[in-house]
């Protein structure tokens, strides 16, 4: 009896190992689209953030796919009118993905609600495509008491978002004296690291996972108290 119990344990162990190996490798996502992010934090009067103005520049492969067949008159020029439907499709379907933009008060779990994009268009310079749009916050928020953080990432990591090397974020809109916006680089040694690993491990066990959050770069918006 003891013999069989031990054998059974070995068997279960070996199979578990194989299954975990198979699943983790199966669900490990990897990007197909790369987007370089430049964002402007739009301030309204009284130093409140009213929204985020994004400019996402895509890689050449995605660009080729996206503009393929859109030169309706075949003159070799992709006019603003010809590209307009593309901007609309992009922006409309972004809603289901929370605009890949996650805004919250630093330390809070809950994300601040966003309104549908306004002021959107795409720009094509014969090589790469840039999608411009502005995401208004449902209720403007004051970052003086507590900093506001903005993460841009695709949880499934199909799209790899990365902030631009130069001038990734700017403060825009009404003059906001004493307000800054900076990209925080993840610190691998931080206390959060261990938590992130366990989350990452479980997130790899299924599709539609949160794998991409590990690559999130956080924009920290702060205002000095007046």
């Amino acid at each position: 009896m003891l013999y069989w119990t031990r054998r059974g344990c070995q068997l279960v162990g070996a199979l578990m190992g194989a299954v975990v190996l198979g699943l983790s490798s199966g669900a490990e996502a990897h990007p197909h689209v790369w987007a370089t992010v430049r964002s402007e934090i739009v301030f309204g009067p009284d130093r409140k953030i009213t929204g985020i103005r994004h400019a996402w520049t895509f890689d050449e492969f995605y660009t080729a796919m996206a503009v393929q067949g859109l030169d309706a008159d075949g003159d070799g020029v992709y006019s603003k009118e010809e590209l307009e439907p593309l901007a609309k499709v992009n922006v409309d379907s972004l809603k289901e993905f929370a605009y890949f933009t996650f805004v919250r008060v630093d330390g809070d779990e809950k994300f601040l609600p966003l309104k549908p994009p306004v002021d959107y268009w795409v720009e094509y310079d014969d090589t790469v495509l840039t999608l411009h749009f502005t995401l208004p916050l449902e209720t403007p928020i004051d970052p003086s008491d507590k900093a506001v953080t903005i993460d841009v990432y695709d949880p499934s990591f199909f799209v790899a978002f990365g902030f631009a090397e130069k001038a990734p974020v700017k403060v825009a809109g009404s003059p906001a004296v004493g307000c800054t916006a900076n990209v925080d680089t993840p610190d691998p040694e931080s206390a959060e690291a261990a938590k992130a690993l366990s989350e990452a491990f479980f997130s790899q066990l299924g599709p539609g996972s949160d794998y991409g959050s590990q690559f999130a770069q956080t924009v920290m918006v702060k205002c000095t108290p007046q």
Binding site: G22, A35, D126, P207
Partner: protein, 356 residues
């Protein structure tokens, strides 16, 4: 078994070496011995220079202790994709032969790395081969057939929609998504089929009187090609060649089609890019080179899965009940994994359309 492992490891190592060499070649064309350029410069002006310089993203970084590795994998893929784009463009202007070889090599390497991601049937094929009495050789065959079919589907889809019907890139994307859903549905069906056949076999074993064709208690013996009387001891640690049943083309085709009907999104992107550069044939060549790389990764993983089953069989030290238990667990476990993954992916693929 060992030899095959060594062979697979050698192939993978060779591919990595090739990749490294190509990498260096792509980065520092003028001097092979000088230090490689730190960062690949923006591709020189093959087309009209863009009016504005596109912004460059800072290298991706990931959190957590594994962050360094994950970040490296993501960055490598990005670098490779950029090099692919450069290689396709170089075909137009530079030396066609060297550019073609570079493109093939890059695509091959890209395929190897790319297959680590989802959608290439690694988990499905590995589970299928352990659930069935398949040999390493068949695992490799299935991996190559599936990768080849994925490449064919991608080429067929892009040529039909873009070259013949003049559709938009987004219509191609929509088709890719539809085929994805079909593929996942088929995978779930294959898993269900494997599970049901295994359960029927088990049931017949426990109720030999009611089964129409009762076997002598070792369900996997029916393929052995040797008979022995009830209760006669039989050495179950047999050579893989002995245990392999007659190749069931129906089953193999079901697996190959269910995995291969879904074109690889990476290949579709390369094909469309090549098409816009007026070099569709280069895209087709790159797609097949990529599929070759993909097949190698999948085959290595399937071989590893078979190796762990072999190990599990050996743990029993020749005990026939142990061997039986391992076979049954592998068959049911493998079928369950295929079914579960199929269902999960099928459900996920019905989600909202992606914006990009």
């Amino acid at each position: 078994m060992k030899r095959i492992f060594a062979g697979a490891a050698f192939l993978l190592g060779l591919a990595m070496l090739m990749l490294g060499a190509l990498d260096a070649a792509a980065q520092s064309p003028p001097s092979a011995f000088g230090p490689p350029a730190e960062q690949q410069a923006a591709p020189p002006a093959f087309s009209a220079p863009p009016k504005t310089v596109p912004p460059k993203a800072a290298p991706l970084q990931a959190r957590g202790p594994l962050g360094g590795v994950l970040g490296w994998v993501a960055q490598t893929q990005q670098k490779m994709q950029r090099q692919l784009a450069t290689a396709v463009k170089r075909l137009k202007s530079g030396n066609a032969l060297s550019a073609g070889l570079l493109l093939a090599g890059l695509s091959f390497g890209y395929g190897i790395v790319h297959a680590v991601g989802p959608g290439h049937g690694k988990a499905i094929i590995s589970s299928y081969v352990i659930a069935n009495e398949e040999t390493v050789r068949r695992g490799i065959l299935i991996s190559f057939l599936a990768a080849g079919l994925q490449a064919l589907t991608a080429v067929a889809l892009v040529s039909l929609l873009l070259v013949a019907l003049n559709a938009t890139g987004f219509q191609v994307n929509a088709w890719v998504n539809q085929l994805e859903t079909v593929s996942y549905g088929l995978i779930a069906l294959v898993g269900l089929y494997l599970l049901v056949t295994e359960l029927i076999r088990l049931w017949r074993r426990w109720h030999p009187a009611t089964g129409p064709a009762p076997d002598h208690g070792h369900h996997h013996h029916d393929h052995h090609g040797h008979d022995h009387a009830e209760g006669e001891p039989c050495n179950h640690i047999v050579d893989a060649r002995d245990i392999a049943g007659p190749l069931s083309w129906k089953k193999v085709l079901a697996v190959v089609v269910s995995v291969g009907i879904r074109p690889c999104s990476g290949a579709v992107l390369v094909l469309i890019f090549a098409l816009t550069q007026g070099l569709f044939w280069a895209g087709v060549a790159a797609t097949f080179a990529m599929a070759f790389g993909t097949a190698i990764t999948v085959a290595v993983l399937a071989t590893m899965a078979l190796g762990s089953r072999e190990l599990a069989l050996k743990l029993g030290g020749g005990d026939s009940r142990w061997v039986d238990a391992v076979w049954t667990t592998c068959a049911i476990g493998g079928a369950l994994v295929v079914l579960t993954i199929g269902l999960l992916l099928f459900a996920a693929s019905l989600g909202p359309a992606r914006p990009f």
